[in-house]
């Protein structure tokens, strides 16, 4: 089982979290004219890296906050966690 350190609550087991996908994906700006390809990239296209991957998780059975987690997708090792509004350095 994964153990994820929620930046708000501390170390918790994976059961309390739900997964939200790639954290590097940014929604196109509201009201800005963008191409179909940009929408495609935002909605569907993913790099799905092997190795270190920044991803969103929600502490759904805890504080209910969204957080960012840096995890290795081939070893499941977790390196770092951030609050949702903190930038990935």
């Amino acid at each position: 089982m994964l153990h994820i350190k929620c930046p708000h609550c501390g170390m918790r087991s994976q059961n309390e979290f739900s997964y939200g996908g790639d954290a590097s994906i940014k929604r196109p700006e509201l009201g800005k004219e963008i191409s179909d390809q940009d929408w495609d990239n935002f909605v569907y296209n993913r790099k799905s890296l092997r190795g270190k991957h920044w991803e969103l998780w929600q502490h759904i059975s805890g504080c209910r906050q969204w957080i960012k987690v840096e995890r290795d997708t081939s070893t499941h090792e977790i390196f770092n966690t951030l609050k949702a509004n903190e930038d990935i350095s």
Partner: protein, 418 residues
């Protein structure tokens, strides 16, 4: 190639079965091929076989980083079915059912195809309505479908939970009698043996390092066993699709996820159908050895681990026990995981790409095994003719861009939607 037959079996018995030919050779890669297929799984082997058989293209290499049949074709729960509602999925899968029925004869290899029928259980009136609609759609496409009520289901699978006051009572189910199972390793080996006999080079322990692309055309592939030139290259790498796409500077509507399966200790024959739970994601059948073969949901987060986590297994087996309480008495024999190429609409992609001579076969989600022959057949057609066949026209790569999604279940990578 030595034919497998009762006569050859008897003949070889006199020499203690020591003189059988090798099923396939172990060639060193040539400098150049007409077609290189990357990925020696079921789909890649089937593609090479149909390239040779249907299109007379035999200067073909399959390159595989591990050993053939070591990936998802050896890790699935062996279910074969065509119980789809949408035309694109239904016609493609039913075409595959025909190939399954003929496969053992066609390949001269017993793939132990067992058309024992699949039952999708329904647990509410609404679900019965949905199944009636799906069953009717299937029948319109020439696929057998039978809507069963509670009593009829009980007659077929009395070991399911038909007691009162259960959380998800069984209202009935949708059965496809012609669906079934097959021995998955035999499918890989059967295709490999026939492809090899027609001149295809099966090159194992050969990992792709990069691609040679110039002027928008594919020129060849760089591998751990040297550079190989090719006019056409087909990608059939399932859970490694994103890794190779990155080497091609492509970003695909695919995420790589982990799916687990497990078998119980072997028990006496108890279940002679494939059954799926309708209030969650759980499927079960009994193997010829007597093991209960079970599977369910994705682990739910991107993974290349080929190794699962226990919370998902617990969740899946909880559903199993809700459906068939006797399962709680069984001991688990083995669990394993495979990495899935999950497409965003839950349907596969078999298409050309923006690079001339590069073809893509991926996005198989939960349903790769049963698609093996149809996928190989249509992918071989797409590569040989440089155009998609009408059977895989719906499996285009640009459907995500144009909005023509094939959202049979509307699931894709987002398991929490179910």
């Amino acid at each position: 190639m030595q034919k497998y037959s009762i006569f050859n079996l008897v003949k070889n018995a006199f020499s203690n079965h020591e003189n059988w030919d090798l099923a396939w050779k172990d060639p060193t890669p040539k400098k150049e091929y007409d077609v290189v297929i990357i990925g020696g799984g079921g789909h890649g082997l089937a593609t090479a076989y149909y390239l040779a058989k249907e299109h007379n293209i035999t200067n073909v290499a399959i390159i595989e980083k591990g050993w053939i049949g070591g990936g998802n074709v050896g890790r699935n729960t062996t279910i074969i079915r065509s119980n789809y509602m949408h035309d694109d999925n239904a016609l493609f899968s039913e075409f595959g059912m025909d190939l399954w029925r003929k496969m053992s004869q066609d390949l001269n290899y017993n793939v132990m195809f067992s058309p024992r029928g699949i039952i999708n259980l329904a647990h509410s009136d609404a679900q019965m309505n949905v199944y009636a609609r799906r069953g009717n759609s299937m029948r319109l496409n020439g696929i057998d479908a039978v809507l069963l009520n509670r009593e009829e289901v009980k007659e077929i699978i009395p070991m399911a939970d038909f007691t009162e006051n259960v959380r998800f009572p069984i209202f009935g189910g949708l059965m496809q009698p012609s669906a079934g199972t097959a021995r998955h390793d035999a499918v890989a080996w059967g295709y490999a043996r026939q492809a090899d006999s027609m001149g295809v080079d099966i090159i194992q322990n050969c990992e792709v390092i990069g691609f040679d692309v110039s002027g928008g055309k594919i020129k060849g592939v760089r591998t751990s066993r040297g550079d190989i030139k090719a006019k056409k290259i087909g990608l059939c790498v399932a859970g490694s699709t994103n890794i190779l796409a990155e080497k091609l500077n492509m970003t695909l509507p695919i995420e790589t996820h982990l799916l687990q399966a497990c078998v119980s200790e072997p028990v006496k024959p108890v279940l002679d159908r494939v059954v799926t739970f309708g209030a969650g994601h759980f499927y079960i059948s009994q193997s010829d050895k007597g093991e209960m073969v079970m599977g369910g949901d994705l682990d739910g987060y991107n993974s290349y681990a080929q190794r699962g986590n226990l919370p998902t297994l617990q969740h899946v087996l909880t559903e199993g026990i809700a459906m068939m309480p006797f399962l709680s008495k069984l001991k688990m024999l083995r669990t394993w995981g495979g990495i899935m190429d999950m497409s965003m609409d839950g349907s596969p992609i078999i298409d050309k790409t923006h690079i001339e001579g590069l073809y893509l076969n991926c996005g198989w989600c939960y349903g790769g095994f049963k698609a093996t022959p149809a996928s190989g057949w249509t992918f071989a057609h797409t590569i040989a003719q440089d155009r998609v066949h009408e059977l895989n026209a719906g499996y285009s790569l640009n459907r995500f861009n144009t909005g023509h999604l094939l959202d049979e279940k509307g699931l894709g990578t987002k398991t929490w939607i179910s």
